[in-house]
Structure formats: structure tokens, C-alpha cells
């Protein structure tokens, strides 16, 4: 992602090397993820789809991490809430809708997997699964391949706070540490693993686990996407410079239920959630843009209309699109022609 445009020396984003256009584009991506996500919830409520899982309030940091990467060289291993991330690296709302409706044209899995299970070789998004944290060693392996081939490429992988307690987190991080691999481990700490609050998941600080692997660990406020951008960008620079991995812990709070099948009031109160809902980082980022003179109410209105149209169209398209034919569900267990290349 090349940067262009006039640099305003006084603004925070300019100091980070982000042009006005880029920072506005970041905002667009946050809102697009939000609007897609809200539609997903509605579609589930309306009984049009079976399942939706939200990334609401996590989008700004997801977008920021994506903008700190290079879409032409890097590899992306998002997790299921990463709508802001995947939209920023090139997935479209239509792609997401096709996945949500589990249709054949879904580029992620042809409607085989649940929504939120991203994958697109073209977009350098590595196919993901449901068992959490398995992608962490994959990111390490991809970074190992980059190092072996002398490629200037960095892999970045997301996972939740709960998922950081899996053995694969430890093993994947430690391996990357030993070989100083170009990989960024991003823990999106939204304080809950389904119903289990952080206090029952760990007594440590997740970012400090990096100490035990001999590389830096940094905690950053997810409601401050420019700071997230800075931290991830610096991590990427370290990676490219051969200085090894970084663990980034992004602090947020999951304001929705775990997914559309979870009633979060079974285990927490409205009062706990409310302040976090109020303190919406998308609003915060919009305010920043407005104050910087980069955004206005009219632009907002236009944007929302534009996105509504995009999402409407994608929804209609996806709803009408065909499923993968039943017989084809037996395909691709192995390579079609399982001949050995020689």
C-alpha cells in the first residue's frame, strides 16, 4: 500500500506517515465492516442465515493492523471477527455475504465453512479453521518459508485472548523466537472467551508472555487505531529488518454476545457492557477526522448511503446465488488429479 497525498505536519496520522486519503480510507473500512456486521446480525434475526459472529468495536484496530501491512508481499491469518482486517486487504462485502449465505461462489470455502472462516490465496489470506490457535504455528511456518527464500514478507496472525492459552500459542511463538522470524502475533483481547472472563483465563498479562520467548510484547489500546497502526508498523519494520517477531496485545471489549447463538446476559450484566457500547471507537475515529478537517456530516451521510447500497446489493446477490451442488461436496478431498508432480 503506497502512501500519497499532502502530509500535514501537525496531525497524528501524518506523523505516522499516513496520508489524509489513507486515513479516510481507514475510516471507510471501519464503517464498512461495521455496517456489514450489523447487517449480518439482522439477517440472522430475520432467519435468513443460520449464524453470524460479530467484530463490533474491534474493527478500528483490525483495519489499523491491515493498513500497517503490505498487501503485495505479506501473508494474512485473520480470525473469525476480523471483518475489518479482511475488507482492508481486499475482500469484498459480496464475498463476505456469499460466505454468510454459504453459497458456492464464496471465495473462502464455496460455502463449506462457517462465515468468518476466511481464506483467499489471491488476497494472501490463509485459509482458517474453527479450532482456535492452530493458525499461530502456521504464521510461524509461513515466516520461516519467507526467511528461507529470502523474501521480504511478513506474516500477521490474529487470535483472541482465550486462544492465547492454547499450547499452539506457546509453541508457535517460541519457534518464531528461536529463528527470529518475520511474524507478528496479534492477540485481540476482548476480555472474554465466550462466557469466560479474562480473570478465569489467565492471571498474567498476555503481552508479557513474549518475554519468555525473547521478543518484544506490546499492549495497545484498541480504541486508538492510530496507535495500533504505529505499533504494528514498527513490528513489521522490525520483522523486515530481521529482528524477529513481535507480540501485540490489542485491548478491546466484546460488546455483542459471542455469536448469534450466545445470550451474554447469562454471564454478565447490561451495566457491565453499556459503557463500552457508548465508547465506540468508530465514533472516536470519526471525531478525529472531523477535527482534522477531513470528514463532515455530509460525507458521513453519503458514505452510509453508499454502503447501504453495496450491502443491499451483496445481500440480494448472495441470497439468490446457488449452493454448491451436493455431489460436489465430495470434491477436493485430495488434489483432483492426484498424480505426482515430477
Amino acid at each position: 500500500m503506497k502512501q500519497s497525498g499532502s502530509v500535514q505536519q501537525t496531525s497524528r496520522h501524518a506523523r505516522l506517515g499516513l496520508s489524509d486519503e489513507r486515513v479516510v480510507e481507514m475510516y471507510r473500512m471501519m464503517q464498512l465492516a461495521r455496517k456489514y456486521d450489523e447487517r449480518g446480525q439482522l439477517l440472522k434475526l430475520a432467519g435468513k442465515v443460520n449464524f453470524h459472529i460479530s467484530g463490533i468495536t474491534q474493527e478500528p484496530s483490525q483495519v489499523a493492523m491491515a493498513f500497517a501491512m503490505d498487501t503485495t508481499t505479506d501473508w494474512f491469518l485473520p480470525y473469525y471477527r476480523d471483518y475489518g482486517f479482511v475488507l482492508s486487504v481486499g475482500m469484498t462485502v459480496k464475498d463476505l455475504m456469499l460466505a454468510l449465505f454459504a453459497k458456492e461462489e464464496d471465495p473462502n470455502s464455496a460455502g463449506r465453512q462457517m462465515p468468518g472462516h476466511f481464506g483467499s490465496k489471491r488476497l494472501r489470506i490463509v485459509t482458517g479453521s474453527s479450532p482456535v490457535t492452530t493458525q499461530v504455528p502456521h504464521a510461524t511456518g509461513i515466516a520461516l518459508a519467507a526467511k528461507m527464500r529470502g523474501e521480504k514478507s511478513v506474516s500477521i496472525v490474529s487470535f483472541g485472548d482465550g486462544s492465547s492459552n492454547q499450547g499452539d500459542f506457546h509453541e508457535g511463538c517460541n519457534f518464531a523466537g528461536v529463528h527470529k522470524l518475520p511474524v507478528i502475533f496479534v492477540c485481540q483481547n476482548n476480555q472474554y472467551a465466550i462466557s469466560v472472563p479474562l480473570s478465569k483465563q489467565t492471571r498474567g498479562n498476555i503481552y508479557e508472555r513474549a518475554i519468555g520467548y525473547g521478543f518484544p510484547g506490546i499492549r495497545v489500546d484498541g480504541n486508538d487505531p492510530l496507535e495500533v497502526y504505529r505499533v504494528v508498523k514498527e513490528a513489521r519494520e522490525r520483522a523486515i529488518a530481521g529482528e524477529g517477531p513481535t507480540l501485540v496485545e490489542i485491548i478491546s471489549y466484546r460488546v455483542t454476545g459471542h455469536s448469534t447463538t450466545d445470550n451474554d446476559l447469562d454471564y454478565r450484566t447490561k451495566e457491565e457492557v453499556e459503557p463500552f457500547k457508548q465508547n465506540d471507537p468508530i465514533d472516536g475515529f470519526r471525531n478525529y477526522l472531523v477535527e482534522a478537517g477531513l470528514w463532515s456530516d455530509e460525507q458521513e451521510t453519503k458514505l452510509l448511503a453508499e454502503f447501504r447500497a453495496i450491502i443491499d446489493e451483496a445481500t440480494q446477490y448472495a441470497e439468490r446465488a446457488p449452493f454448491q451442488p451436493a455431489e460436489d461436496s465430495e470434491r477436493y478431498v485430495f488434489a483432483d488429479s492426484s498424480e505426482v508432480k515430477s
Binding site: G111, M114, S130, P131, Q166, V196, T202, P325, E330
Partner: protein, 328 residues
Amino acid sequence: MAVIEYIEAIRLAMKEEMERDGSVFVLGEDVGKKGGVFGTTKGLYQQFGEERAIDTPLAESAIAGVAIGAAMVGMRPVAEMQYSDFMFPATNQIISEAAKIRYRSNNDWDCPIVIRAPIGGGIFGGLYHSQCPESVFFGTPGLKIVAPATAYDAKGLLKAAIRDPDPVLFFENKKCYRLISDEVPDEDYIVPIGKANVMREGSDITVIGYSMPLHFAMQAAEELARDEGVEAHILDLRTIQPLDREAILEAAAKTGKVLIIHEDNKTGGVGAEVAAMIAEELLYDLDAPIRRLCGPDIPAMAINPPGEKHFLLNKEKVKSAMLELARY
């Protein structure tokens, strides 16, 4: 006797065993305050406190490993794997540890744990919320494996599993949770591990299986009896390890025509062992080749409706296999 849901039978078994024995406790992801993602442990946290209905960190190898440690010193842990698809991180603890503790210590130590895990599809769970992992653990000596099809068996087998001196994998079918209800006594009872059950008597064909697909067979059997005069003999294995050899051979001999059904992939599934057992012992009593109707050999079922339907057994598929066998 009350008619209760399969899921309620499982919940009650845990509740009653926890009341009966202070060393019984449950642990797993979301099993405490939330009462489980399916609601299977609802109320245990409230009744027994957070120390006996433990919300664990998201780490299946620890869930199994911690349970094993506690069991070795006399506790009776019931560990939940949220979906059986997610029990693979615990494989090493289950196969290398739980299964071998008694054997490797020449009976000095034991490991009376229960590991519960929901199996099976049909809930639009897709590739990783629908799998049947039986074939992975089947064939590991030292493990008992049960897979009930009815509420009665679910309650009785879970109680037996909790009281069993050895590790038991308890594979509950998530499609059965709310779909299957039957009569369950109010009094305490167990269903012995290792004993199959004749669900239906018949003289024309034998159907052998376990878990959800048996209900398709039962429905199909009623229709076949009514419409075709075919009487199916249906054996519910209930315990898939150790298999009830005697019951299997008896059921097979009864009609000489055997259809084995399960949702797990066909190749390498429990059905292969059942067929091999019959082929080893009863060859000359058979009037037809031993048939298996199982999930196709694809990694898992797709979430899209045609894909899911294609994978799963249903009454029609089972019925036509039964009819074909009857006509053989």
C-alpha cells in the same frame, strides 16, 4: 417415570452424581456460569459453586490433563470438550496418559475420568462443529467409549461412566439433545458399559449401529414392517469400546443379513470392526454380504444445506439400504 429430553438426561446424571459423591466435579469451557454452550451443565454452577463447575481456560489439553491429575488422586472429574471437533488438542493426554495409567503402573494407579464430547452434524455447524471423532479413539486399548442414542441410555451410561474405575469417553449426539425424548426412571439406575441393547426384534434383517442414526433405522423399520412386511432386528451398540461381541454375533446370526450404520466416515469406522468381527466368526451364517451405510469419506460435512444433507444419514437413506438388504 417421566419423558425427558436426551440433554436433560445428561444434565441430571451429572447433577445426581455430584449430589451423591463429593469427588465428582465438572470442568470445561463455559460449563460454569453459562451452563455450557448447549446448556448441558445448566444449574450445576448455581447448585455446586464455581469450584465444582469449573470454567476453564480455553485449552483442551489442560482440561484433560488437569482432570487426569485430579482423578489419579481420587477425584471423579467429568471434563467437557465443547465440541468433539475440539478434543484433538487433548489427544496426547487421552491416548498417552488416560488410556495407559493403569497399565503402565501395573495397576498401582488409575484414572477414573469421564470426557464428554458432543458429536455429529445436522445443526448447520459445518466442517468443525459436526464431526464424529470415534475412529480416532476407537482402537486405543485402555479407553472405554460410549455413545448413547436415547435419554434413558444417556443418563444410565453417564452415571456408569462417572462411577467406572477407568477412563470413559462419553460421546453425546448434539442432534439428539432436543430431538430425542424418552422415559427415564426417577430412581437411580445405571446402564452397564459394554452391553449392547436390542432396540427392536425382527427376523429379516439386522441393523447394527449407535447414536443418532439408529432413530432413522427405527423409523424406517416401522415403515418397512407396515409397507413391505420386512421385520428388522435393530441392535444399539451403546458402548463402542469394548464392543459387545456376544450381542453383535447373536444379532447378526438372528437374520443372517447385516447392515451397519453410523454417521462417522465409513472407512476405518467402528462399523469396520463390527463387520470384521462377524466375518471372522459367523461367515457361514450370513445370507448376504455385510453392508455398511456411513458418512462418506470426506473430511467433514459442509455447512451449506445440500452439502450437509448429502453427508448425513436420514430415514430415507437408511430405509432404502434396509430394503435392498431385505430383498437380497
